[in-house]
């Protein structure tokens, strides 16, 4: 339901999880110690091994190169940002101090973090509630409605983009954060699907026992389903946090007309790219764009380190139970 839902980025994220779960069965468990060695396609010859490791390292360098380049460029003085040397000739760590004066980066970061937290919390809670409804209860038209949930994933965001803008405009919320996360309060198709899969895996007896002990339906969800689904809850949270952090288009639609301080991080960087454009007007102070780009990447790297652990833990718990 969120604006970001049908963005290419979100579609890819979806692909990743649906792909793992629906297309190829349970997620891979290569990080578990119990994994059987015969599932690896290990090369047998020495030459095979050497070629493999050369290729692996080559691609690792290829993927890391832009990061190193970015880090290096962020430490260079104005005139050297474009010189491609990975070791700055002149170190200017001051860029990291100066950038906060040059750009309202602190506001952008604050806005983005607040919006991403709201978006991720709202969508994770709402999707869990809805998913529990679909997983636990039997009611007329349930499968039809769930089919509709899945069908909404096919809808390109462009179709609902304009009406949603008009809805928010009608309520008078253009220029506020609300359009960037408000629709998440109603859950989001992909996450409902994900959480429902998890709830369906919980043994029914668990809930029946609680029912006999007098738990209400809400109690079943709140005290049994929710605590048990924390791993998948965190996956949803992390995915939506990333999607929100990355969401340029919604910020362009809803915040671009406001003051620069009200921008989100992606909108802010896009603005800075134009402000210090290297193509128009030669060598501008592009090092600040580099510093800012690096700084807004750090939360994602942190959440990746954090999320990856939970993801593996979640898979591990499921595996033990199964």
């Amino acid at each position: 339901m969120s604006l970001t839902e049908s963005s290419p980025e979100a579609v890819r994220l979806k692909g990743q999880v649906i792909g793992e779960q629906a297309v190829t069965g349970p997620p891979p468990r290569e990080d578990l110690p119990s994994r059987k060695p015969d599932r690896w396609y290990k090369p047998k010859s020495v030459i095979g091994k050497i070629v493999l490791w050369i290729a692996l390292i080559f691609f690792a360098l290829l993927f890391m190169y832009p990061f190193v380049w970015l880090l290096s460029a962020s430490l260079k003085p104005r005139g050297q940002v474009f010189d491609n040397s990975l070791w700055p000739r002149t170190f200017v760590p001051d860029n990291y101090v100066e950038v906060w004066d040059q750009l309202p980066l602190i506001s952008w970061m604050f806005n983005s973090i607040a919006i991403a937290l709201l978006a991720a919390t709202a969508v994770a809670v709402a999707s869990s509630v809805v998913a529990f409804g679909f997983a636990y209860f039997t009611f007329p038209a349930r499968n039809l409605l769930f089919g509709l949930v899945l069908a909404t994933m096919m809808l390109p965001g462009a179709v609902t983009m304009i009406p949603q803008y008009l809805i928010w405009k009608e309520i008078g919320l253009i220029g506020t954060w609300v359009p960037l996360w408000g629709a998440n309060l109603f859950g989001s198709a992909f996450y409902i699907f994900l959480q429902r899969q998890f709830f369906l895996g919980l043994p029914r007896e668990l809930f029946e026992a609680a029912r006999i002990d007098g738990a209400s339906y809400w109690g079943l969800f709140r005290r049994i389903a929710m605590p048990l689904s924390i791993p998948s809850f965190i996956i949803v949270f992390v995915f939506e946090f990333q999607a929100s952090w990355n969401n340029l288009q919604a910020a362009l639609i809803y915040l671009n007309a406001g003051s620069v301080e009200e921008f989100t991080a992606p909108l802010g960087i896009a603005y800075a790219m134009t402000k210090y454009s290297p193509t128009a007007g030669g060598h501008g102070d592009y090092q600040y764009v580099m510093v800012a780009s690096l700084i807004i990447t750090i939360p994602m790297l942190l959440i990746f380190a954090f999320g990856q652990r939970y993801f593996i833990e979640g898979v591990a718990t499921q595996g033990r139970k199964g």
């Binding site: 339901m1 970015l70 409804g133 609902t160 991080a265």
Partner: protein, 325 residues
């Protein structure tokens, strides 16, 4: 079944079908449970009615109107916006750009992701480390990626062309030469291909190892094994990625916008005008809501059509486990 009529005993009093159906309905659904179920899914239903179904109907209405944003009025104009789709050369142009991009990006993404997954599937213990490294670009915000690639792809001073120079190739003007703008975006997309890679990695791990052993006993070399075992066994993952990546390619916005259409000067080559970018410009720069809504519906139709064709023809080549064919 609960609807079955008792055969023995005294004939039941004649009951209308309606009553019978009602009784069956009651025994199947518990009233309290049904109400609770609806309450739990209520947030989604409300959201669906307002932000999806309501929005779709609204969008359809707008696509047949001339929407005046200042006065909030929609004047019906019939099919004028749809007719405009054929008159405006930029619609066809941007559609063609997007199509060409998709035809370049999707096969390359699948091939590259599969190649990387096959490398990772061969590592053993080090896989976790390499998978993390390969995955990091995926975590990088697109704006950060774009701000770096804008410099890396620079035709004169960019690292990519400097690198090509080393091996004796004169690199193109990636961001300026109309023929090279789409390959630039493809390069950026390939750098973040690891999501697709992870799916392939999972699929590869599910291929039974003994198939390869049997094949190599029969004298099949690695190439033969790849085409006769690997490809068919992971065909459902390939098919899935094909559909998802195609849908994503048709909606590509961020990369094209950031590299070429950030500032509103029209200095960028027209071959970089992607459909989603032109739609966005029409909607939120020109505020031609009616026309933009018609463009959105055309995009929807095209995506549906392509997905349908892929499903129709792709399914024949997909092997599903437990399938007899």
């Amino acid at each position: 079944m609960t609807t079955a009529v008792r055969r023995d005993g005294p004939a039941p009093a004649p009951v209308s079908r309606r009553v019978k159906r009602k009784a069956a309905f009651r025994s199947k659904y518990n009233r309290r449970e049904s109400i609770a179920g609806y309450l739990f899914i209520a947030p989604w239903i409300i959201g669906f009615l307002v932000f999806t179904l309501g929005a779709m109907v609204y969008s359809l209405v707008i696509s047949f109107s001339d929407y005046n944003l200042a006065r909030n009025t929609a004047t019906p104009v019939g099919f004028a916006n749809y007719a405009q789709l054929f008159e405006d050369p930029k619609v066809g142009l941007s559609l063609m750009n997007t199509l060409v991009y998709a035809l370049m990006a999707v096969p390359l993404e699948i091939a590259f992701a599969l190649f990387l997954a096959m490398l990772l599937a061969r590592v053993g213990k080090g896989a976790g480390f390499f998978r993390t490294v390969y995955y990091l670009p995926k975590m990088t915000p697109t704006v950060a990626t774009a701000s770096v690639f804008l410099l890396l792809l620079n035709g004169n001073s960019g690292a990519i062309n400097k690198g090509l120079e080393v091996i004796g190739i004169q690199g193109p003007q990636w961001l300026v030469d109309p023929a090279w703008v789409k390959p630039s975006i493809v390069l950026m997309t390939l750098w973040t291909v690891s999501g697709t890679m992870v799916i392939f990695l999972a699929a590869l791990k599910n291929v039974p190892r003994d198939l390869y052993e049997v094949a190599s006993l029969d004298g099949a070399g690695p190439v033969r094994q790849f085409f006769a075992i690997t490809i068919p066994m992971i065909s459902s993952a390939i098919f899935f990625n094909l559909i998802v990546l195609t849908i994503a390619a048709f909606q590509t916005f961020d990369q094209a916008y950031l590299l070429f259409w950030r500032d509103q000067s029209n200095a960028s080559p027209e071959s970089s005008l992607f459909y989603a970018v032109y739609l966005f410009q029409q909607a939120f720069r020109q505020f031609n809501f009616g026309f933009a809504a018609a463009m959105a519906w055309l995009l929807f139709m095209i995506i549906m059509l392509i997905t349908f064709i892929q499903m129709k023809f792709g399914n024949r080549f997909v092997y599903y486990e437990g399938d007899d064919h």
